[in-house]
């Protein structure tokens, strides 16, 4: 259970988040949507303690992560798997090494056990044979999938996806969505997906939080989106639909009753 309470954060006199509160119960997949630069990533970085709020508190499983020691914070972070926007693979290591890295660092497992786990993770992201490749030899989509495999290697309780489909072609995007969906089902994790891709949201999310003008302007289930009359949300969805309409069929994201 992740609970954000009254988070306020500003950078250089620009308020990015203003009094934002959000609960993410166990097992839920929450999609955080909003325009680029609306503070989605900032909100999520607070959840992992990568940013410290100016005001407000963050609880992960009951622990205030900004009050515990750095050592304890790092222990809490190990409950998370984070898929960064660009993948953030360590470019000095091969795909295999990248996935093995958290295992080698945080478990005392034997090399053999680690190898088996890495292969398992690569299978889960459907890239069984690319272990030896370096990140620079992989396409953007493959990098993201390897990064996903790395994020799940330690069987995290929470997975945070930062723009998992941005910059990918629709086919690859769909594949990533399916992957997230199947992982959520298989691993029973709590997920937070940051995205502005409505297609993705509708495919994978249980609940949606819409960030607008530094606040959470709207929360509700995926079904609720279809019935909302919230101006800004509708604007956002429509803008998306236009883009999606070009890429895939608009009917899939039919929002009009």
């Amino acid at each position: 259970m992740i609970r954000l309470e009254h988070i306020t954060k500003q950078f250089n006199n620009t308020v990015v988040l203003r009094d934002v509160s959000l609960d993410i119960p166990e097992g839920e997949t929450l999609a955080v949507i909003g325009r680029s630069g609306s503070g989605k990533s900032v909100l999520i970085k607070h959840a992992v303690g990568l940013l410290t709020p100016d005001k407000g508190r963050v609880f992960v499983d009951g622990a205030n992560i900004h009050e515990v020691s750095y050592k304890e914070l790092r222990r809490i972070r190990r409950k998370f798997g984070v898929l960064f926007q660009g993948g953030a693979l360590f470019d000095s290591m091969s795909a295999f090494e990248n996935i093995a890295f958290p295992l080698r660092t945080f478990t005392g497992n034997s090399d053999e056990a680690i190898r088996r786990r890495v292969e398992e993770c690569l299978d889960m992201v459907q890239l069984p044979d690319i272990g030896k490749k370096m990140p620079s030899e992989l396409s953007g989509g493959m990098q993201k999938r390897v990064a996903l495999a790395r994020a799940i290697a330690l069987e995290p309780k929470y997975i945070i996806y930062d723009e998992p489909t941005s910059g990918l072609d629709p086919a690859t995007s769909n594949r990533i969505d399916e992957l997230i969906l199947s992982l959520n089902e298989k691993l029973r994790v709590t997920s937070i997906v940051i995205t502005h891709d409505m297609h993705s949201v509708l495919a994978i999310a249980d609940r949606v939080a819409f960030i607008h003008q530094a606040r959470i302007a709207w929360t509700g289930t995926v079904d609720d989106i279809h019935r909302t009359d919230h101006e800004s949300l509708l604007d956002f969805v429509r803008a998306n639909e236009y883009v999606i309409g070009e890429q895939t069929s608009a009917s899939e994201v039919s929002l009009h009753p």
Binding site: V48, L50, Y70, K71, R74, R75, I76, R77, R78, F80, V82, F84, Q85, G86, A88, L89, F90, D91, S92, F101, P102, R104, T105, F106
Partner: protein, 253 residues
């Protein structure tokens, strides 16, 4: 008024930021197991892989010093052995550590800054943090440790090869024989000198790695920022090597 004060205080802010970074790198590290592989990786990259370029630079500086000393000190009043007496201590005291330092400021310093800078701008450092690692101690401690362990090793190599280069040129150029060279080197040899050179190498190793880690770790501004950090790391390492060289000479000699 406030502007000039800020300008005056700026260097101290940087010094504080730098000191805190280095302090954090060594306080509360994770399990040693986490760093073991990393330390050996860095020792390979910083130390072993630098041997060829250091050897090249040392051999040439030893050779050039020999030729120039022979040229400058040719006199009936001076025995040929004087060349050995000048070349060997200059290599041990000054050229060995400083030439090694300069070469490595370029090679190792720039590399560290580029590595960490790229990791910073491609979110790899944040990824490390998000994984639950102490990114500062994970990235910086092994590099500094490798620096202060391997630089003295490179210094020893530089001295041995530099004096060797001097002897080779002394023979080939007909300036003096190996025996005369060694005789001269022995005549004015003080056992303290190599230890002083070793301390210099130790300090330079710390300066290059820590300054470059600082530059790289706090890189901002994408690929351009990485370029800037890389250049600055090499330049600032050289500047601080020169300052440290003088400070050490004044305090220890």
């Amino acid at each position: 008024m406030t502007y000039s004060l800020a300008w005056f205080l700026h260097p101290f802010t940087i010094l504080g930021k730098y000191s805190l970074l280095i302090f954090q790198a060594f306080v509360s590290p994770d399990d040693f197991r986490t760093y073991r592989k990393n330390i050996f990786d860095q020792m390979m990259r910083i130390g072993v892989e630098s041997i060829p370029i250091v050897a090249l630079a040392a051999a040439f500086s030893g050779a050039v010093t020999t030729v120039q000393v022979s040229y400058q000190l040719v006199s009936v009043f001076l025995p040929a052995t004087v060349i050995g007496s000048v070349v060997a201590p200059s290599m041990i005291l000054e050229l060995g550590p400083v030439v090694t330092g300069f070469i490595l400021a370029g090679r190792v310093g720039a590399r560290i800054a580029a590595e960490l800078g790229t990791m910073r701008v491609t979110v790899q450092i944040v990824a490390l943090e998000a994984m639950g690692l102490n990114s500062i101690s994970y990235l910086i401690a092994p590099r500094i440790l490798a620096g202060i362990i391997m630089f003295p090793m490179l210094y020893v190599a530089a001295c041995a090869i530099g004096i060797g280069g001097g002897i080779a040129v002394a023979n080939l150029g007909g300036y003096l024989t190996t025996q005369e060279f060694i005789q001269g080197a022995r005549n004015f040899f003080r056992p303290f000198d190599p230890y002083f050179g070793l301390s210099k190498a130790f300090v330079f190793g710390f300066i290059i790695t820590s300054v470059s880690c600082y530059m790289g770790y706090f890189t901002a501004g994408g690929a351009e920022g990485v370029g800037k950090s890389t250049t600055q790391a090499a330049v600032m390492s050289c500047v601080f090597i020169l300052i440290a060289d003088l400070v050490l000479a004044v305090t220890l000699l």
